[in-house]
């Protein structure tokens, strides 16, 4: 991804075919994904197209609905995701997603969509990618 380096472990998993959703759907639900059956762990091309779409949504009036900011913010509101510093790594057909969030450092956190009724915000799943792999037992 342009300007945002993928974690080494993720690159390794992509190359070795280990990057796929776990069979245990309960684990997926535990990290906050409701449509666990639909969750796809994206290929590199899928990450790119879904990240592009994430950025388009922020530009096309979906910011408040989906908790998105498009850079140029001094202080990111709580629960919002800066789309210029994020990569979508997994998604469902119902607009849930897991993202790498680079807003605080080069080592990304993993965040997930969280429905709060009328809108969606982003919650922390893991402080880093290694921890995320551990949580899901990948």
């Amino acid at each position: 991804m342009k300007d945002l380096p993928l974690p080494n472990l993720l690159v390794e998993m992509l190359n070795s075919g280990r990057w796929k959703a776990p069979d245990d759907k309960e684990l997926i639900k535990k990290i906050g994904i409701e449509d666990a059956d639909d969750l796809s762990f994206l290929s590199l091309a899928g990450m790119e197209s879904n990240t592009n779409q994430l950025r388009q949504l922020a530009l096309n009036g979906y910011s408040d609905l989906m908790g998105l900011c498009s850079g140029n913010v001094e202080l990111l509101p709580e629960g919002y995701l800066d789309v210029t510093k994020a990569i979508v790594i997994a998604a469902t057909y119902g607009d849930e997603a897991l993202c790498l969030d680079y807003s605080n450092s080069i080592e990304p956190k993993i965040v997930v969509t969280n429905n709060t009724g009328s809108s969606t915000r982003w919650l922390l799943v893991a402080e880093n990618f290694e921890k995320f792999v551990e949580i899901l037992g990948l």
Binding site: E34, Q53, N60, Y62, G94
Partner: protein, 241 residues
């Protein structure tokens, strides 16, 4: 007195000759214009309704000059249209010469709005588990679903798909473009998953459309049976939840 009278007669005759010259010039201009118009109409009969009547009947010089430029524009527009038409024809021909690429684009769209290929024919080309993000517009009963990320053809030919995350927003734009819908606030989003050769599973969650329009990621229950029936009618496939 005689001198004054002579001067007056002289001026008058000058005036008359000037007026005569002006009338003559206007007459010739009108004649040229009329001939031009007749020629234009003979050459481009389809544009006859675009040529203002003032070009033919008015003897006013300003209107005539304006009309000349208008005629130029009409001619230019006509030529542009011919060029555009040629270009379009060439594009269509080249597309027709590559039926595989044409088919690949058509099969990615399931819709009841003037489909290029029937939804059932399109679906028959997909592998099981292929998914389609869809939008239904209740007031007009129009719907469209586009192949979503991960959908694949039996032939393994590559296809363009919408993203999984936010794909409904992309489908909504496509439906608006195709139908000219103005109010998207009544749209209902759904997902179709090809279960087997004659069954589609439908799911109802979407943030970008359902949560925006109804305050809930899930589509309102009272629309579900109507949408399932519309898809069943168009595809001929069994639709299950």
């Amino acid at each position: 007195m005689k001198i004054v009278l002579n001067n007056w007669i002289c001026k008058s005759s000058n005036f008359v000759s000037i007026v005569s010259m002006q009338v003559l010039i206007k007459f010739f201009l009108c004649l040229i214009m009329t001939i031009s118009i007749v020629m234009m109409q003979l050459c481009f009969p389809a544009n006859a309704e675009n040529i203002p009547e003032s070009c033919i009947s008015s003897s006013n010089l300003k209107v005539t000059v304006l009309s000349i430029s208008q005629l130029g524009l009409v001619h230019h527009a006509r030529m542009h249209r011919i060029e555009h038409s040629k270009h379009k024809q060439e594009k269509t021909q080249s597309r027709d010469q590559d039926p595989s690429s044409r088919r690949r684009n058509e099969v990615t769209t399931l819709t009841n709005v003037s489909p290029d290929i029937s939804a059932s024919n399109a679906l028959s080309e997909y592998n099981v588990d292929s998914a389609f993000s869809g939008i239904y517009h209740p007031p007009t009963k129009q719907w469209m679903a586009l192949a979503s990320e991960g959908a694949s053809l039996k032939t393994a030919q590559p296809i363009s798909t919408v993203a999984q995350f936010g794909g409904h927003a992309q489908v909504e734009r496509a439906l608006v473009t195709k139908t000219g819908l103005v109010n998207v606030r009544e749209n209902v989003a759904f997902v179709l998953i090809l279960e087997n050769a004659n069954t589609l599973r439908i799911k109802w969650n979407s943030i970008s459309v359902n949560q925006r329009n109804f305050g809930d990621r899930a589509a309102p229950r009272h629309y579900r049976a109507i949408i399932m029936e519309a898809i069943r009618n168009e595809t001929g496939y069994r639709v299950i939840e």
